[in-house]
């Protein structure tokens, strides 16, 4: 019997029920086709999977110190970049010491969260704000693409707001038009800010941030400046701002989502 047609084998690797009895029998007995199928399957699994980073092991605390010393990096980078995810020393804790040392990454993260977010280091937040925004954009591109394929009339712009690390709040954001003006309504499940909450619209590449205002409750509506193109500023972000008089984004975001336009 000839080998399985390469187009067909690709569809089989994707899980489409396209194989005949004879194809399946061939796959069971032909090592060449089976190996090809397995290799394609690995690519499909990698693309589709959502592995849990919480199962990973953590390097010892001394590893970064050794790298830092060996490469003579700047003094400002002396702290272990993984440190915010490690449990804090008992002296820094507000709460009584936990009975057990957290073992998994997920445990460590939840442990540091219960100790409050106000002390979380902000050193690298700008970098990962950029990174997280870009990740949202990749996702948003996929979603808006699907939406435009499904309907020619744009649906009501809306976003699901998901918590960032160290937070558990979720929420929604919705754009409605009222009397010729656009309004953004944000609803949150909780208020976790250690300072105050501020609502932003952000460009995917972070080249622009528009502050819509302070949010002092779990639900608030903001006017969107006329002329502001939401397609250019699709990311809705609620930040935790310290009372420091600095008008810039603190780099600490509580929830974030991307408007489907």
């Amino acid at each position: 019997m000839p080998h399985i047609d390469p187009d067909l084998l690709s569809l089989m690797a994707l899980g489409e029920p396209v194989a005949s009895e004879a194809d399946n029998e061939h796959l069971r007995t032909c090592s060449a086709c089976a190996a090809e199928h397995a290799a394609l399957r690995r690519a499909v699994d990698a693309a589709r999977s959502q592995p849990d980073p919480g199962t990973l092991t953590q390097p010892s605390a001394g590893v970064w110190t050794a790298i830092h010393r060996e490469l003579a990096l700047d003094e400002s980078l002396a702290a272990d970049p993984l440190e915010p995810e490690r449990p804090r020393e008992p002296a820094e804790q507000q709460e009584p010491k936990e009975a057990q040392e957290p073992t998994s990454l997920a445990d460590r993260r939840s442990a540091s969260r219960t100790r409050g977010t106000g002390t979380a280091p902000r050193r690298n937040t700008a970098l990962w704000l950029i990174a997280a925004a870009a990740a949202v954009v990749i996702a948003a591109a996929g979603i808006s693409w699907v939406v435009t394929q499904q309907s020619q009339t744009p649906p009501l712009a809306a976003a699901r707001l998901e918590p960032l690390a160290n937070f558990a709040t979720t929420g929604t954001a919705e754009v409605v038009e009222r009397g010729g003006e656009r309004e953004l309504t944000v609803e949150l499940s909780d208020q976790e800010a250690s300072g105050y909450q501020e609502v932003w619209l952000i460009k995917p590449d972070l080249s622009g941030l528009v502050s819509l205002g302070v949010m002092d409750s779990r639900s608030a509506t903001f006017a969107i400046p006329p002329g502001l193109n939401l397609a250019e500023y699709p990311i809705v972000d609620v930040s935790d701002e310290p009372l420091d008089g600095n008008p810039a984004h603190s780099g600490v975001s509580i929830v974030r989502g991307s408007l489907s336009l």
Partner: protein
Amino acid sequence: MEATRYAAVWREQPLAPPAASAWTAELDAAFAGGDENALAEAYRQFAPLVHTLAARSLGNRAGADDVTQEVFIRAWRSRSTFDPSRARLPAWIVGITRNAIADARSSSIKDLRSVQAAQLAADPDGTVGGPDADLLADRLLLHDELERLGEPQGSIMRLAFFDDLTHDQISRRLELPLGTVKSHIRRSLQHLRRRLEVDSAAY
């Protein structure tokens, strides 16, 4: 617990379709340009994965710590050979990790008297880190590859992977001939599969 778990993975898995990691082209450029902050960010995002892959292969923590240290030192020192247009940094780091693990294994095998050699038991069952470590590594190797496929291949594969559409549904949705969709799927899958297979040879 469920909410916390979700919060912990959000940065890597924002919304569907899931992004492989929060690493960006800007960070690629910063790393290549010698910005030490980008090295620290790379360590923050990828050191646990590097460590897990090493721990599974070497069977001990001390060896995994050594490999992790070695990988990031090598990555930084050889950053002039890092070419973001050829492979993104996450994939490059996975490649360096595989090489460093191979080096660590061969040097441990040579030194039979060392205590570590006695512990040199690979972990084929994946009890350290579980199968998720391999999947995470594969995802990093495919980082941004869908975006790089171009169109309509990228859209076709996103619909196939994340919306679970069949090839004839995709054909109708995109108004492309069935044969065209099928051959794009075959070529795109072959491309992704090659990215997974050449990683250790390419660095």
